[in-house]
């Protein structure tokens, strides 16, 4: 068990050692986002710009235009404050800025609704030039951090606070925009991202005992989404479930639905937050209350299979 923010923080430090152009800007949350590992070793390339998300994003844009590669780090929920700056300053100008949004999803827990980013996929996905990545575990978070540093243009990296199971392999390279099939199956396909990947694997395990062979796809890149893998899943398994710690509107489920509807219609069930704000509680309690657990995914798989023609 390890949090994706930890994988990110460690990889950012390693990146810093390799590449002198990496600059880190923080919204006074470097202890929480793990950007402090970088700060301790490279104080001259680290700037805490205070609690000012818009200014941080804009400053990063200026740095990028001088050839530097800024990573800007805050809570996913607070980047919503900078949306206009992301749109014009970062995306319209196609700035080489990497945005790390930690403490995403409802599992951040007791801090409550204001700290629980559940809308960021929808918001970021809508912006031209923006890429969106959400690693499944700390291993993948580390690899993704290094890979996105080499991708020109703005990238949003969604990370979590809580320790989650390690489900990806150290040796397997992270390929931006290419989903990973973690478990083969032909009864239905679960497409998940972030923490929901491990929940999906548990659901698939449970389902296999009932004779249902669920494929599990780790869709770590939400944008550009791996259309081929979605179409393949629709053709080979005929039914799909998406699972994400995000609102049902505009997130991974919507992205998958867009591909299915246009390319290869197939029944789809979405495991997601139902257009509601979160609340205080322990992460696990909230995942249960908001129907984001393995059992909810397993139920959705059973339901979608019944809808197969």
């Amino acid at each position: 068990m390890k949090a994706t923010r930890d994988g990110f923080g460690e990889a950012l430090l390693q990146l810093g050692r390799k590449n002198g152009d990496i600059i880190v800007l923080s919204g006074d949350l470097e202890d929480s986002t793990r950007a402090e590992y970088f700060k301790k070793e490279f104080p001259a390339r680290f700037f805490n710009l205070g609690i000012a998300e818009q200014d941080i994003a804009g400053t990063a844009a200026g740095l990028s235009k001088v050839g530097l590669i800024p990573f800007i780090c805050s809570f996913a929920a607070f980047w919503a404050n900078a949306y206009g700056v992301f749109r014009v300053t970062l995306c319209y100008n196609n700035c080489n800025v990497k945005i790390a949004g930690t403490h995403s999803g409802i599992s951040v827990g007791p801090d409550g609704a204001t700290a629980q980013a559940l809308e960021d996929f929808a918001a970021m996905r809508a912006l031209p030039n923006m890429s969106v990545v959400c690693p499944a575990d700390a291993i993948e978070a580390a690899k993704a951090t290094k890979v996105i540093a080499g991708i020109d243009g703005p990238v949003y990296l969604r990370l979590g606070r809580e320790a989650v199971p390690l489900v990806t392999m150290e040796e397997k390279p992270f390929v931006f925009g290419k989903a990973d099939v973690l478990k083969e199956g032909d009864s239905a396909t679960i497409i998940a991202c972030g923490h929901m990947v491990s929940e999906s694997l548990k659901a698939a395990e449970k389902l296999s005992k009932a004779g249902i062979r669920a494929r599990v796809v780790n869709m770590h890149t939400i944008k550009p989404i791996d259309r081929e893998q979605i179409i393949k899943a629709a053709k080979e398994t005929g039914a799909l479930v998406t699972a994400e710690e995000h609102q049902v509107n505009g997130g991974l489920g919507s992205a998958v639905a867009e591909v299915l509807a246009c390319e290869c219609p197939a029944p789809l069930e979405m495991v997601a937050v139902r257009d509601k704000f979160g609340e205080s509680g322990e992460g696990e309690e909230l995942l249960k209350k908001y129907n984001l657990k393995e059992d909810d995914i397993a139920e959705a798989v059973k339901k979608v299979i019944l809808r197969k023609k």
């Binding site: 000012a52 530097l68 100008n93």
Partner: protein, 272 residues
């Protein structure tokens, strides 16, 4: 010191170009374009090190036009510097043209696309900070509108520039006192504007933004103050040079028709 007589002639020509460009497009922002003419001429023909033949030169000074709606003023200035042919101004705001309605980085000489107010000073800060990190001696200039100063991000950026001692940065406000729906003082008063920035830790100057001597002195001074960014409140007149446009919010974002254009050009040419 440059030839002020020549600069005055340049200003008259630029005002003609701006009006013709906007009238030809059928839309645009004459008021805030005409008010910043002397500022842009002082920057591009005196202070900046413009390199029309090599706009990507790494050591060039940077200019961020944060008030992106005054695109006609910047495009006509760049054309007169030789960044692109003046005839191209006929394509302003037309389909397929790189001369987009708001300042667009696809135009040679433009550093950064703007148009959503309040965003440019942070970008300028980033470039100034980047120069320090890279140990480059280029300077960064940023022109903001006074209405724009009502955006919160500007004040976040103002704190950042002072905190990080960005003495290679100069922010200029085209303080024409009029925004789209009326006088700034009646909508969200900013006075004392220079005083506010002084309290934020900036070196500040309050000048006549149509007086070349004033502007040039202020720009020269901005490079000499150590450890502080410089803020210039350049007092201007919206729609400067055309009597029926001056101080009238109605000319913030409206193109002159044929008659209005003739009248305006006649007035400017009379002064030559």
């Amino acid at each position: 010191m440059p030839d002020i007589k020549d600069f005055k002639q340049k200003a008259r020509q630029l005002r003609i170009d701006i009006l013709e460009t906007i009238a030809n497009a059928g839309s645009g922002h004459p008021g805030g374009s005409l008010s910043c003419v002397e500022i842009l001429i002082s920057l591009y023909f005196y202070k900046l090190r413009p390199v029309p033949q090599n706009p990507a030169w790494a050591d060039r000074d940077r200019f961020i036009m944060s008030k992106g709606h005054a695109s006609a003023a910047l495009y006509t200035t760049l054309a007169s510097c030789g960044y692109f042919p003046k005839e191209e101004l006929r394509n302003f705001r037309k389909l397929g043209s790189r001369l987009q309605g708001h300042v667009y980085a696809g135009v040679p000489g433009v550093e950064f696309s703007t148009g959503a107010l309040g965003e440019g000073l942070s970008v300028a800060n980033g470039m100034a900070l980047g120069a320090k990190i890279r140990k480059k001696d280029f300077k960064v200039y940023c022109l903001l509108g006074d209405g724009e100063m009502q955006e919160g991000q500007v004040w976040e950026a103002a704190m950042t520039a002072a905190q990080h001692k960005l003495d290679n940065l100069c922010a200029i406000v085209d303080y024409n006192g009029v925004q789209q729906n009326g006088p700034v003082a009646q909508i969200k008063n900013e006075e004392p504007l220079a005083g506010k920035l002084r309290d934020f830790g900036w070196n500040t100057l309050d000048i006549n933004g149509h007086d070349f001597d004033d502007i040039i002195k202020a720009l020269d001074l901005s490079g000499k103050i150590k450890d502080k960014p410089t803020f210039i409140a350049a007092r201007t007149i919206k729609g400067k040079g055309v009597s029926f446009m001056e101080g009238d919010p109605g000319w913030h974002g409206k193109a002159p028709n044929g008659d209005e254009l003739s009248k305006a050009l006649e007035e400017i040419k009379e002064k030559i």
